[in-house]
């Protein structure tokens, strides 16, 4: 067990614990803040696995923008301080789906790799990632960008007031 392994386990535990708080807490805004912790811990996992760029993209986009947008929207509409009693939905259905998916995926992974050792790939530096993206994967990349552009234009059209 190397120190990287221990770090990975610790970060994973933080991510899962915080994710559990996200779905369990009845404080609306606190759920969003726990989400920040989860996403930050996942970024830490990427860092330990030497995927530098992906880790920092995760921080820039998810922590710095997506969650902030989410909190912003919640605060604009309804953000009571303290527990919201009316949030108490039966959790067993969610627990079933979430736990089932996690167990299934876990079983799949364990079955796929058993005890074989997989070395870390080359570090995911910006240069390596850029070369891959613009040489090998350029078509999917461009298709994705067209999709995003279409979504953007669509959002503008939908939100425009009718004149």
């Amino acid at each position: 067990m190397t120190s990287a392994d221990i770090l990975l386990l610790a970060l994973g535990a933080v991510a899962i614990g915080a994710a559990f708080r996200v779905v369990r807490t009845s404080h609306l805004v606190r759920a969003g803040l726990w989400l920040v912790v989860t996403l930050g811990a996942v970024a830490g996992v990427y860092l330990v696995l030497a995927a530098e760029l992906v880790a920092w993209v995760q921080v820039l986009l998810y922590v710095g923008a997506v969650v902030v947008l989410l909190l912003f929207a919640v605060m604009l509409t309804r953000a009571p301080i303290g527990a919201s009693a009316d949030l108490d939905r039966p959790g067993w259905a969610g627990a079933l789906v979430g736990g089932g998916a996690a167990l299934g995926l876990g079983a799949l992974f364990v079955d796929g790799y058993r005890w074989q050792k997989v070395g870390l790939p080359a570090p995911g530096t910006a240069e390596a990632l850029g070369a891959q993206l613009f040489q090998h994967w350029v078509l999917p990349f461009e298709v994705l960008s067209v999709l995003l552009l279409a979504a953007l234009v669509g959002a503008i059209v939908v939100s425009r007031p009718e004149t």
Partner: protein
């Protein structure tokens, strides 16, 4: 291992002294620009110890948490505000040799931009957990402002990264040439203005506009926690000035930069900080709609045009 510890200690020392120097400069520069003297008594010589006295005062004050506030969130928010800037300082290169960088990194620019962006979370935490309408309004203004200005901020930085062909901060300084001052001028202006808005300095201090919102998301804070937010603001000035220096003003480049590189960096950082202070005295606060208009109708198009220009020059 020891080298890493020494570096971290160095960054912590810089973190503790630079904001104080900038703060004291702000007191004195603002005062003289307004035909006042500013602090004169603390420390006997031109009030040099004023900020230390302020710090002692803040420590003595009562640490009040409003009864209706969300306690844990309210108490953690100042630390969350301060931490991103401390991390950002770790990656800013001071001199040409690697020993003078807190931590050299292949994607340094990206790290700094990502980490600075996290500061918004602290503002939202402080705003919401205060259980105060003025705080919440200030926080929402801040979030709208930061989300908007993040775009030209990152685009302008991307332009330099494209020009230099690297995301490493030291690499960008190495690739920098004096004529970039001209070629990257639009990006420099956009980056600087967006940076000012990112740290919510006047004239972009709508979120804490005292004539409308008391003190925005800082309204309920007292004592040491309030001081942390103030410290975050001044470290923010240092970080934005240092980033502007490293990306656009050639960092340590200057005469005898093999030996005096760190001095050039520091001088440039202080020069940019001086401009930031000057702007506070020179310009009135932007109204909320003017603020958003400036971002979306001026800065973003200029940044995009600069990106096209950079790409054209690089390819040609």
């Amino acid at each position: 291992m020891i080298a890493v510890i020494v570096r971290v200690l160095g960054v912590v020392a810089a973190f503790l002294t630079l904001p104080l120097i900038v703060g004291q400069t702000e007191h004195k520069v603002m005062a003289h620009m307004q035909a006042r003297l500013g602090p004169m008594y603390a420390g006997a010589f031109h009030g040099w110890a004023q900020l230390i006295a302020d710090g002692v005062k803040f420590v003595q004050k009562e640490d009040v948490t409003p009864r209706a506030a969300d306690r844990p969130v309210f108490r953690v928010a100042p630390l969350v505000a301060l931490l991103p800037y401390l991390v950002a300082l770790l990656f800013i290169p001071l001199g040409p040799r690697d020993t003078l960088v807190g931590q050299p990194l292949d994607v340094g620019l990206f790290v700094v931009l990502a980490v600075v962006g996290v500061g918004v979370v602290a503002v939202l935490m402080a705003a919401w957990s205060s259980a105060n309408k003025y705080s919440l309004l200030g926080g929402l203004r801040a979030a709208a402002q930061l989300l908007g200005y993040e775009l030209p901020f990152v685009l302008a930085a991307a332009s330099v990264a494209m020009a230099a062909g690297t995301l490493s901060l030291s690499g960008i300084v190495n690739a920098w040439r004096p004529w970039w001052l001209l070629w990257q001028l639009p990006a420099l202006v956009v980056f600087f203005v967006a940076g000012l808005a990112e740290i919510r300095r006047p004239p972009f201090d709508m979120p804490v506009a005292d004539s409308e919102l008391v003190f925005g998301y800082l309204t309920e804070y007292t004592g040491l926690r309030f001081a942390f937010f103030l410290l975050a603001e001044y470290v923010g000035i240092v970080v934005i000035a240092a980033l502007t220096t490293v990306l656009f003003l050639g960092g340590w480049k200057g005469p005898f930069d093999a030996q005096l590189g760190w001095l050039w960096t520091l001088l440039k950082v202080f020069a940019v900080s001086f401009v930031i202070i000057w702007l506070r005295v020179a310009y009135p606060r932007l109204r909320e709609d003017q603020l958003q208009r400036l971002c979306w109708l001026v800065l973003v198009p200029v940044a995009l045009a600069q990106l096209v220009l950079t790409a054209a020059v690089r390819v040609a």
